[in-house]
């Protein structure tokens, strides 16, 4: 009632100001009239009575104001006034305002998105899983000399866990494989499959989107093979045009027909979060048929291939369950003795947050720690930028503040004004930042479906309030500073005391550059690691007329006796096609490492090299000229004890100096230094055209091609239009041979580059944002210093300083700040690299180069950010500058 009355009265007087004013005036004038009448009744003349009444009241306007001054609506009115004033101020300084808002926007948007991803991975159930609080993973651990490692488990061990019903309400097992299937348009593709115990979905508590699910649903219902599958929504959409169409349809996996009996919830990607899309779930009983391993049962003690998830009984702690699981593991340990037997353990960990990255203590933790650190660094850079800008703005407004103080504004009033401005900035920055956040999250939700990145308002709220509080605190200190000086001081000389204030700002800038540097170095390292090994391929000039055909080998491998290898036949058939010059078997990757030492005239040291197996005619096919000697011939494949090698020209010089390497001998050594074999150099190819490894020299050895997975096809014309014809020929020749991939070298390169560019683009963007913010801060510091010291510059110029000297003075001071920042950032960068080293294996050789490059970039950008405002100092006219004061 009371509050209601306050509210309605306040609102009425707020929205109907005229009426409220009139009321107050009427009340006062009625009072006056009454009072005057009373005085008149006591014998005063009407004029005198009026005067006496006014005297008592103390002025009618004043009294009406006093009446109107009561109530909460006046606070609103004052704030509205502050806001109007603030908006006018922003309109006067659009550049600073936009920069501050932009900085807040970028910082808040980036950090909220980052935290949202971290939160999606670690604080929420895996996608598609409704309730995971009691879900755990039972991890098998083998204690090796180097430390504990994760192991897979054999079926008998899994059944023993399932028997621990006092601890586990349900136990399910799975194993991941990849199979070959035909896509909708008939092309062969690979799909990731998980073979699961039939109670898999029930253990998760997952309700299928549609379909009845597996026919037999018990943990041990594995007696007869059941050829059914639950598919992911994306698979159903791709193959059948939607979840509803999928159920009852057939898919062929490794040539075996399987009936679709259900569709998993959207984004469900199996028990462990992974960047690979899991598309099909099959009952374990279908494993022998689909994976063609009839001879070898999954249930045998020898086939250790399962991972285990379980639902805990209510009230059972992870520690209790781990103790029970360890009993099982040690009994397995006791009756499963092998030659390299190592102690086995098990533990029980929450399923949530486990990722497919291996490592026992969860490299995922390191990953999230890195993401978190980067996010906090961005936030820190962002807030320091904002505070240095605000500080600059407050220092620049000392005159204005002085005038307001002189006109009688209280210090609290001015601080309130400045805080109002900061709040407006923070709110608009937060609003735009959340806009970006929503946008990024939507992008992530479509691009990164295997992590649940729904807009997370808790995270966003946390980030926004953090940014607001920081902005306010950052704004408070300059406001207190700016209002502390006496009125007279401020008005007399705007420059005095400026140094102490800008010292705070300088500190901010140094901190910013210090923070930017590790961010940039970390990002540069990540980019360089991603890019590593993506140099130009040998013979890339003819990349469009070389086709790589990659054939699935698992099936042939699993039944070597039953099927004859169709690939030699396929190769003969392709070679007979018009337009095909040559068909070669190709081995992907390196053969291994060797330690070589030259024999004979030049006593060299021991060289560690990578062997690259190449087939006969390899260099001719790729148009790489053999500079000296010859290529491998068929005779080299059966050279017996004396192996033949081809060297790159640089390595030949390193090994043999000026002596012709052809016919020279090399000894390959065991790691202990004993001679293993003797090798003869038969050819030399130009280094520039073959080497794509910077770490170790490469030595080419003959490739014997016992088992062929990849075939290299050289054509006379660009091969891209021929691909479908080639595919048809291969399928006609060997209908059961799945083609995993078929593309020209150029296409493969483009695809890889695209992936790398996408990955590094994001990282680079974050680094650029950080650098941009730091340079804004630096710019502000120098610009404000120039503005504050106009008088000093005027004096200097008047007594004969050249514009170049004046500019140099400011430029040097700005540069000094950035160098101090760089220096302070060094330990931070080292820490960042340490974190990165956990995640990627850093090649420490490249670190100095990257550090130098990042340092150079920072100094260059800092120089620019300093030079632009410093240049203004040259434009100071001493006459105007000195007169203005």
């Amino acid at each position: 009632m009371n509050l209601w009355r306050q509210a309605t009265y306040g609102l009425r007087s707020l929205f109907n100001r005229e009426a409220a004013n009139l009321d107050a005036q009427d009340e006062v004038s009625h009072y006056l009239a009454q009072s005057a009448a009373a005085h008149e009744a006591q014998g005063l003349s009407p004029e005198e009575a009026q005067r006496a009444a006014r005297l008592e009241l103390g002025g009618p306007t004043n009294a009406a104001e006093q009446i109107r001054g009561y109530g909460w609506e006046n606070v609103v009115k004052h704030i509205a006034g502050d806001v109007r004033y603030a908006v006018r101020h922003f309109a006067r300084t659009p550049l600073t305002t936009v920069t501050i808002v932009l900085t807040l926007t970028l910082g808040i948007g980036a950090v909220a998105s980052m935290f949202s991803v971290i939160d999606g991975v670690f604080n929420r159930p895996a996608p598609g899983v409704p309730d995971d609080r009691s879900l755990v993973r039972i991890r098998g651990i083998r204690v090796e000399q180097a430390g504990p490692r994760l192991r897979t488990m054999a079926w008998p061990e899994v059944t023993e866990y399932a028997a621990l019903t006092a601890r586990f309400a349900a136990v399910a097992a799975w194993t991941s494989r990849s199979v070959i299937t035909a896509s909708r348009d008939g092309a062969v593709e690979e799909a990731n499959v998980q073979f699961v115990s039939p109670n898999f979905f029930a253990t998760f508590g997952i309700t299928l989107v549609t379909g009845p699910g597996f026919v037999r649903k018990g943990f041990k219902d594995l007696a007869e093979p059941e050829l059914t599958a639950v598919v992911s929504q994306s698979f159903a959409a791709r193959r059948f045009g939607g979840a509803l169409n999928a159920v009852g349809k057939e898919v062929k996996l490794n040539g075996i027909a399987v009936r679709v009996v259900g569709v998993a919830p959207r984004a469900f990607n199996g028990p462990i979060q992974s960047y690979d899309a899991r598309e099909l779930w099959l009952p374990l009983s279908s494993y022998p048929l689909v994976m063609s391993s009839i001879g070898q049962s999954f249930a045998s003690r020898d086939s250790s291939m399962f991972m285990v998830l379980a639902r805990l009984q209510p009230g059972v702690a992870h520690e209790t369950a781990t103790a029970a699981a360890n009993v099982v593991a040690s009994s397995v340990d006791a009756d499963f003795r092998s030659a390299d037997r190592l102690p086995m353990r098990s533990d029980v960990v929450p399923l949530r947050g486990t990722m497919d990255l291996g490592g026992i203590d969860g490299e995922s933790l390191a990953l999230s720690a890195m993401a978190g650190v980067i996010a906090l660094l961005i936030l820190a850079v962002c807030t320091t930028t904002v505070s240095s800008l605000l500080l600059g703005a407050a220092v620049a407004r000392r005159q204005e503040i002085g005038v307001r103080l002189a006109l009688g504004a209280s210090r609290a009033r001015i601080i309130r004004q400045l805080l109002t401005e900061n709040t407006i900035l923070a709110i608009s920055g937060a609003a735009f930042g959340l806009l970006i956040f929503g946008w990024v999250v939507r992008l992530l939700a479509t691009q990164l479906i295997h992590v649940d990145v729904a807009p997370n308002w808790t995270t966003a709220g946390f980030t926004v309030s953090f940014a607001m509080v920081t902005a306010l605190i950052c704004g408070l200190s300059p406001a207190l500073h700016a209002t502390r000086a006496g009125v007279a001081d401020v008005l007399k000389d705007g420059t005095r005391g400026a140094t102490s204030r800008s010292r705070l700002q300088r500190t901010f800038v140094v901190a910013q550059i210090a923070l930017t540097q590790p961010l940039l170095i970390a990002l540069a390292m990540a980019i360089s690691v991603t890019l590593h090994g993506f140099g130009p391929r040998p013979g890339s000039s003819i990349g469009d007329s070389v086709v790589l055909a990659d054939f699935e080998s698992d099936i042939r491998e699993s039944q070597p006796a039953q099927t004859h290898d169709p690939i030699p036949g396929v190769m003969r058939r392709i070679a007979s096609l018009p337009g095909v010059v040559r068909v070669l078997p190709q081995r992907t990757g390196y053969g291994g490492t060797l330690h070589l030492t030259p024999v004979g005239p030049v006593p060299g040291g021991v060289f560690k090299v990578l062997t690259v197996p190449v087939p006969v005619d390899y260099f001719r096919t790729l148009d790489v000229p053999v500079a000296r000697g010859r290529e491998f011939t068929a005779a080299d494949l059966s050279a017996g004890a004396l192996g033949r090698v081809i060297l790159a020209s640089d390595d030949a010089t390193r090994l043999f100096g000026p002596v012709s390497p052809i016919g020279q001998r090399l000894h390959s050594l065991s790691p202990a230094g004993q001679r293993v074999a003797e090798l003869e150099v038969v050819g030399v190819v130009s280094s520039g055209q073959v080497s794509d490894n910077e770490e170790l020299p490469e030595v080419f050895v003959p490739y014997t091609a016992e088992r062929i997975d990849v075939v290299l096809i050289r054509t006379t014309e660009p091969a891209a239009p021929l691909l479908s014809a080639l595919r048809a020929v291969i399928q006609a020749e060997a209908p059961k041979l799945p083609i995993v991939k078929m593309e020209t070298l150029d296409q493969a390169d483009r695809a890889r580059r695209k992936v790398v560019l996408q990955a590094s683009g994001l990282a680079a963007a974050a680094g650029m944002v950080a650098l941009f913010m730091a340079s804004i801060g630096l710019y502000a510091v120098v610009a404000i210093a120039v503005g504050q010291r106009r008088r000093e510059i005027g004096v200097r110029v008047a007594v004969g300083a050249t514009p170049r000297q004046v500019v140099g003075m400011f430029f040097n001071s700005g540069l000094r700040l950035s160098l101090i920042g760089l220096l302070i950032g060094l330990p931070l960068s080292a820490a960042a690299l340490r974190i990165l080293d956990v995640e990627f294996e850093i090649q420490w050789m490249t670190v100095p180069a990257i550090a130098l490059a990042v340092g150079a970039v920072v100094v260059a950008v800092a120089s620019l950010a300093t030079w632009l405002p410093a240049r203004r100092a040259a434009g100071v006219d001493p006459l105007i500058a000195l007169r203005a004061e």
Binding site: M1, N2, Q6, D26, E27, A33, A63
Partner: protein, 111 residues
């Protein structure tokens, strides 16, 4: 020049207004006159404070206000006590009595 203090005792203005209005509804000047009359000129009400206090009491829900047309076509705001106001008056009056008697006891003890 020695002049008796005619200020209303601090913190009692609200109670005086409420008490005055408990007799009958009246307008601002009327309240001021009544307080002066009943106190026999001991208290002289400051019009500014009175009008602000009326505004505050009205907002608090202790007073109701009505605009009335006066004979010389002016508007007059006439205040009356609400139930909440009556309750508030009792509370304040009790409080006041308690404190005054305490002060009186103290002064007696001194004598």
């Amino acid at each position: 020049m020695d002049q008796a203090n005619t200020d209303v005792i601090q913190g009692t203005m609200d109670m005086l207004i409420l008490k005055t209005l408990s007799l009958q509804p009246m307008h601002g000047y009327g309240i001021a006159r009544r307080i002066e009359q009943i106190s026999r000129g001991v208290f002289k009400v400051n019009p500014g404070s009175l009008l602000t206090a009326l505004q505050r009491l009205e907002r608090a829900g202790w007073l109701d206000a009505q605009w009335k047309q006066t004979e010389n076509s002016r508007r007059a705001k006439v205040y009356s006590l609400t139930r909440a106001g009556r309750k508030q008056l009792r509370t304040e009056a009790d409080d006041w009595t308690r404190r005054v008697s305490a002060v009186a006891r103290l002064l007696d003890a001194e004598a």
